[in-house]
Amino acid sequence: MSLSPGDIVAIEKVGVSAGVPPPEGAAATVIEGRSPWRLAYERLRRDRASMISLGVIVLIILVAIFAPVVAAITGHGVYEQFRTTGLSPDGLPVSPSSHFLLGTDDQGRDILVRVAYGARISLIVGVVATLLEVVIGTVLGLAAGYFGKVVDTVIARVIDIVLSIPFLLFAISLVSISHPSLTIVIVVIGIFGWAAVARVVRGQVLSLREKEYIEAARALGAGPWRIMFIDILPNIVAPIIVYASLLIPVTIVIEASLSYLGVGVPPPTADWGTMISGAQQVYQQAWWYLLFPSAALLITTVAFNIFGDGLRDALDPRAEQIYK
């Protein structure tokens, strides 16, 4: 007998439920199976680092959603330049004070408000671009792995080509010939990011394709698309989710990098990368201008990374045993 992830889930489940026998009466009517998701969720709940990072992520999301509220409370708009109060007499940013909690930037704008608004761009790009990567990568990876032969050869070559193109150079040239915008940033990241996902998915499908339950599905008369999306996909959702959760911080950093290089989201939109880039000119006089956007970026990516790690441990009990 070979152990599959499902079996390990089963063993663990026995271990968990052995201490608490279910009440007799409850079993009589409807017996709800404990799904692998439920078990993963319970494992995740027990992991303190994941829960803390999840809390941080939720906080960042709330900040992004309520950025206008932050602006309203401080009374400072995102684009509003305070030439008298927000800049020193010689035109430099003013340091954090009760008026500007995180100081101002070189144009006299409130950094707190701009960092809050910057979270919106980072999260939108992080989530939407990752989603795009995952959808393209999953579909192509499934097709390559399941159909094999010519389909696999073509997709595998395309993956190789995409992975070998220098991303930043391409992104810079692409954005410079068209107008930089949020949509273009997302599309560019999506076009380059799917290949890694497709490779992961393809590998998983190659091993799952040989399982007996796939043959059983074919024997029942299931067509290739049904087998790919109903029989195979649920079995690889876990690694895809883990991969996606680790792709989000990467995507956020890429977006910040593009903005930093001036080919991302165009100013005056509040964006962490653009802010870091702007702070370069004045950081010796105004450390806060560099520190706070950088810290926001760092905290966000670290939180997503830790949470992604926790997710992997929760969804794949085998990996946990190897690491410990």
């Binding site: 070979s2 499902g6 199976g33 059983a216």
Partner: protein, 364 residues
Amino acid sequence: MTETGASSHRVAGTDKDVLVKVENLQKYFPVQTTSLFRRNHDQVHAVDGVTLEVRRGETLGLVGETGCGKSTLARCIARLCDVSAGRVIFDGRDITSLTPRQMRPLRREMQIIFQDPYGSLNPRRRVGSIIGDPFALHGIADGAERKRKVQEVMELVGLKPEHFNRFPAEFSGGQRQRIGVARALALRPKLIICDEPVSALDVSIQAQIINLLVDLQREFNLTYIFIAHDLSVVRHVSDRVAVMYLGKVAELAPAEDLYQVPRHPYSNALLSAVPVPDPKKSSDRHQIILIGDVPSPIDPPAGCRFHPRCPKAQERCATEEPALASVLGDSAEHVTACHFPVEKGEDLSNTSRVSVPPSGSQTT
């Protein structure tokens, strides 16, 4: 659907009571072995010219060692793989060269029960939806109707219908195999291919599943192709038994005949390998110990495939391939592919390898 319905009544010159007819079926798998400078395109002769019939309502046992081609034969009959040569006729219709798409409507009439109850159930899907698959795939029932039918089948195979929402991991091996049986039975197919359905189970559970299969056969007039390497199980369930060796049928006979008077030396050897529960009897009997391994199916021996290991082999066996025919006054039902079939009461354990030196070198 209509296509199937029309063609299933078209009897292409076969007997009405024959459900599956296999004619000279061959299945080769290409293997590429690359030595340093040369690439060899060899072929594994998994099934190499099998002809047999499965009659309606009977159980045909397929026995043989691992790798003798019994599972491949079954997969060819179910058209889960392509056939290299020969014909498969199912219910009067030639299905040898149907595309997977053309096969799909026919799938409701032939089902498979798989060997590994752990591998054959998707661990991420609930039992209800696994057993509901056949209904969904063939557009038979939806929603509450499907649920009702699924629970009906679950009850039929001895599962609790309330366990509808559970996952396969929450069941024991025997229960999982019942799920597999339920899935195969859901659409009341004409043919069920049981691919070693009990090999992976505990002995006590084996009996339950076997009895379940036998009961279901009686109730729904099912036809089984029953693959196993456990001879006593095959004897119990089968009406007729085909013994396979290296991709060919060595002997095909009604189950009792085969166990009473096995004609092929290989059948004799297989039967003598069955453990006897009584130690006294066990030490008394003459066990036939075969020498050597099964030859490579990439380059099977010429003549009779069994001759390099056969205690009765003569020179003729190395050159001339024996045909399946009834021998030594057996009924037409009992056919053996052997030049020198074993007489009743003949003791093969002493004749071990005296007549012919190892294959190919008959110089002495």
